[in-house]
C-alpha cells in the first residue's frame, strides 16, 4: 500500500512549510484522494482547526461528517476509530498530548494493536493516531515521551518525524498503512523549522532510517527533536575535526537496524540520543542490538544520552530535562577518546 514516491525537491512544485503545515497538507491530500479517510479528535473542526492548528480548514473543505470534533473522551475517540478502521475506513485520531494516551491505552494496546493477531489475520486496523510531545513549559502531565510503551507492544507502528518533509511523507504513509500507527509530533519542532516541501502527495516509507549527516568517526542514532540536538553537536565537533554521522530513525517500529548496524560497523562507535528517558528507553534496545551484533568491531562501549528518570520539571531553567547539544557533544568526545 505504501508506495515509495520520492519528493521532488528544489522544483517549482515545492513550498516552504513548517511541520504543522506539512501535516495539514498530508491530511488534506489523503482526504481528497480517499473518501475513507476520516478525522476524529477534540476541537479539530473549524474555526478552532485543532489546538495546534494541524487540521485547520479541513472541516470547512470536507465537512464535519468526515472531520469530527469529539467530546473529551479519549477512550471513545480511539475506540470509535478502531471500529471505523475495522469497517475499512482510514481514521486519523488526534490525542492532544501524548500524556493522554494513558486514558485510552486499553483501546490502543489491547484492541488496535491486537485485533489483527487475535482474529488470525481476518481483521485489520488501518488507524493513525496523531499525538504531540515535547513542551516542558506545560509541566509533568504534558511532556512525556512514551514511545517505548508502544514499541514494546506488538502490532502497532511508531513514527516520529524530525522535519517538515518527513512529517508530510510519513503521515501519508501512516494513513495508507494497513496497521495501526502512532504518529508523534514534537510541538516545538512543529512551528520552528521551515523547509521546502513538495506540494503534491508523496510517501516516506515506514521503517527506513535516513542518514541526516555523513561522518566516519562516530554514529549518533536518534529521532525527533534530538536529531537537531545531535546535528548541532556534530557541527561544533566538526570544527575540531571529529566527523559525526547522524542517523534519523524516523520510524521506531519497524526499526531500521540495518542502517544503524551498517553505520556503527563503519565508525566503530555508537551513541544513541533521544528525548525519552534513558532508562529502558528506545536506546536500551538499540544499544543491546549493536553490542550483540558488532561486539568485535566496536572501539568503545555503546553509549546513550536521554532524559533522566524524573517527571518533567516545570522550570526549564536550572532543571534541564531533555538532552542538549552540550551533553551530546560531551558524550561523543568521551567515545572518541575511549
Amino acid at each position: 500500500m505504501t508506495a515509495t514516491v520520492e519528493p521532488e525537491l528544489g522544483t517549482s512544485s515545492t513550498k516552504r512549510m513548517t511541520m504543522a503545515v506539512a501535516m495539514n497538507s498530508a491530511l488534506d491530500l489523503a482526504m481528497d484522494r480517499d473518501d475513507s479517510v476520516l478525522l476524529l479528535g477534540e476541537d479539530i473542526a473549524d474555526p478552532a482547526g485543532g489546538v495546534f492548528k494541524v487540521t485547520k480548514g479541513l472541516s470547512t473543505k470536507y465537512g464535519t461528517g468526515r472531520v469530527r470534533a469529539t467530546p473529551i473522551s479519549e477512550t471513545a475517540i480511539i475506540g470509535a476509530a478502531v471500529g471505523a478502521a475495522l469497517a475499512g475506513m482510514r481514521p486519523v485520531a488526534e490525542i492532544m498530548f501524548m500524556d493522554f494516551v494513558t486514558v485510552c491505552l486499553d483501546q490502543i494496546t489491547n484492541h488496535a494493536a491486537k485485533l489483527r493477531y487475535m482474529s488470525g489475520g481476518h481483521s485489520s486496523v488501518p488507524l493513525t493516531i496523531r499525538t504531540t510531545v515535547g513542551e516542558q513549559r506545560f509541566g509533568a502531565q504534558h511532556t512525556q515521551s512514551l514511545e517505548t510503551w508502544f514499541m514494546h507492544t506488538p502490532g502497532i507502528k511508531v513514527v516520529m518525524p524530525s522535519n517538515p518533509i518527513d512529517a508530510k511523507g510519513l503521515l501519508a504513509s501512516c494513513i495508507a498503512d494497513n496497521d495501526p500507527c502512532l504518529y508523534i509530533e514534537n510541538i516545538s519542532l512543529a512551528y520552528s523549522q521551515k523547509d521546502e516541501v513538495p506540494v503534491k502527495e508523496y510517501f516516506t516509507p515506514l521503517g527506513e532510517a535516513a542518514v541526516t549527516r555523513a561522518g566516519r568517526d562516530v554514529t549518533v542514532i536518534t529521532y525527533g527533536p534530538a536529531v537537531h540536538t545531535a546535528v548541532a553537536a556534530a557541527e561544533v565537533l566538526a570544527a575540531e575535526g571529529v566527523e559525526v554521522e547522524v542517523i534519523d530513525l524516523r520510524t521506531l517500529m519497524p526499526l531500521d537496524m540495518d542502517t544503524v548496524l551498517a553505520s556503527a560497523s563503519r565508525t566503530g562507535r555508537a551513541l544513541i540520543v533521544h528525548d525519552a528517558h534513558t532508562f529502558l528507553g528506545p536506546g536500551a534496545e538499540i544499544a543491546a542490538q549493536i553490542a550483540n551484533d558488532l561486539f568485535g568491531e566496536l572501539k568503545g562501549p555503546v553509549r546513550r544520552v536521554g532524559t533522566g528518570f524524573s517527571p518533567a520539571p516545570y522550570a526549564p531553567s536550572g532543571l534541564d530535562f531533555h538532552p542538549t547539544s552540550d551533553t551530546v557533544a560531551a558524550a561523543i568526545c568521551e567515545l572518541v577518546d575511549y
Binding site: 476520516l38 469497517a87 475506513m89 481476518h122 502490532g155
Partner: protein, 339 residues
C-alpha cells in the same frame, strides 16, 4: 421476576413458526455446547477459560432473530451465544476454543476472542466495557457511508461501571448512530451482585440520560425480547439513532465454567433455574401447539449431533503451525523484529 410466557400472554408478531423453531434450536445449541464445554474443561481435555452463557439463551436467540446478515455485532468474552445467534460456524468456534488451526482466528484468539468477519461477528473483547466504543466506530462508518445496517454491542451489567461505557453511550447519543446497545443483565459481575456495585441499579435509566430510546425487557421472555430488539435494530437501519435495551436475566452458573456458585443465593438461583430458557421455551411451544413433541425431539437430536460433530472436529483439528506465531502481528510479517 415476571412469569414465563404463556399462550394467552404472547403475541408472536412477525415471527413465523420457522422463526420460533429456529429460536428454540439456537437456545438448545447454546445450552448443549456450553454444558459440553464445561464437561471438557473439567475432564482436562479443554484447557481454556470458558464463560458459560447459561441463562442468556433466550436473549441470544431473540437477538439472532432481530439481526440480519448485514448487521454487525461486537461481543464480550461471554460470546458463545452471540456468535451462534449471528450464525457463525459452530465447528470453527469450537476449534478456536481448542486453539486449533481451523478455528475462527487460527487458534490465536481463543475462547475470549471469537471473531468471524464473514458472519458479521466483528470482534469480541476480554476487557469489560471496551466493545462499546468499537461498536460506535463501526456504526459511525456505516452512517458516513450511508449503509443501512444495525451495529449491536452486547455487554454485561458490570460493564456499566466503566468509563468506556459512558463515553460510548454519549458519543452514540450525540451523533445519533445506528447502534443497539444490548445489556445482558445477568445480575452478577463475577462474584459481586448488582446491588453491591451500582449506585443506581436501574440501568435503563442511566442510558436514558444519554438521549437514546431505551427499553427494559424480561430476558426469560424471548418473544418480547425479540420484538424489542427487532424494533431497535429496525430503528438503527432506518437511521433513527441508537437504542439501549436492558435484557434482565440471571446467570444460571458460576462466572466461569469451573468456578463454584456457592455465593449465589439458593432461592434466587432456584427461581431462575425454573425459568431456564430452552426448557421453558420448549414447554411453551408445546402448550401453544406451535411445534409438536416429535418435531422438538428431532431438533434436540440435530443439536446433539451438531455439537458432537463440532467437538470431534475441533479435537481432531490440527494444531497451528509454529511458523504462524509471527504472522498477523503486522500486515507484512517482514516488519516484525527478529529478536
Amino acid at each position: 421476576m415476571t412469569q414465563s410466557p404463556t399462550t394467552e400472554q404472547v403475541d408472536v408478531g412477525d415471527l413465523s413458526t420457522d422463526d420460533l423453531r429456529e429460536m428454540y434450536k439456537t437456545m438448545r445449541l447454546i445450552t448443549v455446547t456450553g454444558e459440553r464445554a464445561v464437561v471438557e474443561v473439567k475432564a482436562g481435555r479443554l484447557k481454556s477459560a470458558f464463560y458459560p452463557v447459561r441463562g442468556l439463551e433466550g436473549s441470544c436467540a431473540a437477538l439472532g432473530s432481530a439481526m440480519r446478515p448485514e448487521d454487525q455485532i461486537v461481543s464480550t468474552y461471554r460470546s458463545l451465544g452471540d456468535a451462534l445467534a449471528k450464525r457463525s460456524s459452530l465447528r470453527r468456534i469450537i476449534a478456536e476454543i481448542y486453539g486449533k488451526a481451523d478455528g475462527t482466528s487460527k487458534g490465536k484468539g481463543g475462547a475470549m476472542h471469537l471473531h468471524d468477519q464473514e458472519a458479521g461477528f466483528i470482534t469480541s473483547t476480554g476487557v469489560v466495557g471496551a466493545g462499546l466504543p468499537i461498536a460506535v466506530g463501526l456504526a459511525l462508518a456505516a452512517s458516513i457511508r450511508g449503509e443501512k445496517r444495525a451495529v449491536v454491542a452486547t455487554f454485561g451489567d458490570g460493564s456499566t461501571s466503566i468509563g468506556a461505557w459512558h463515553e460510548a453511550m454519549n458519543l452514540a447519543g450525540l451523533w445519533k448512530l445506528p447502534v443497539v446497545f444490548v445489556c445482558q443483565n445477568n445480575q452478577w459481575a463475577e462474584h459481586t451482585p448488582i446491588d453491591e456495585y451500582a449506585a443506581v441499579t436501574d440501568l435503563e435509566s442511566r442510558a436514558r440520560a444519554y438521549g437514546m430510546t431505551t427499553a427494559k425487557v424480561d430476558g426469560f421472555d424471548p418473544i418480547r425480547t425479540a420484538r424489542v430488539l427487532s424494533e431497535a435494530t429496525a430503528r438503527a437501519r432506518a437511521g433513527e439513532g441508537p437504542s439501549f435495551v436492558e435484557v434482565v436475566t440471571y446467570r444460571l452458573t458460576g462466572h466461569s465454567g469451573s468456578s463454584d456458585y456457592s455465593y449465589m443465593p439458593k432461592d434466587q438461583l432456584a427461581a431462575a433455574t425454573e425459568r431456564d430458557p430452552a426448557p421453558a421455551f420448549r414447554r411453551w411451544l408445546l402448550d401453544a401447539e406451535i411445534v409438536d413433541e416429535t418435531a422438538l425431539e428431532e431438533i434436540d437430536k440435530q443439536v446433539a449431533a451438531e455439537v458432537d460433530d463440532a467437538f470431534e472436529f475441533a479435537q481432531n483439528a490440527p494444531q497451528p503451525n509454529a511458523s504462524e506465531r509471527y504472522t498477523d502481528v503486522f500486515a507484512d510479517e517482514r516488519q516484525v523484529p527478529k529478536s
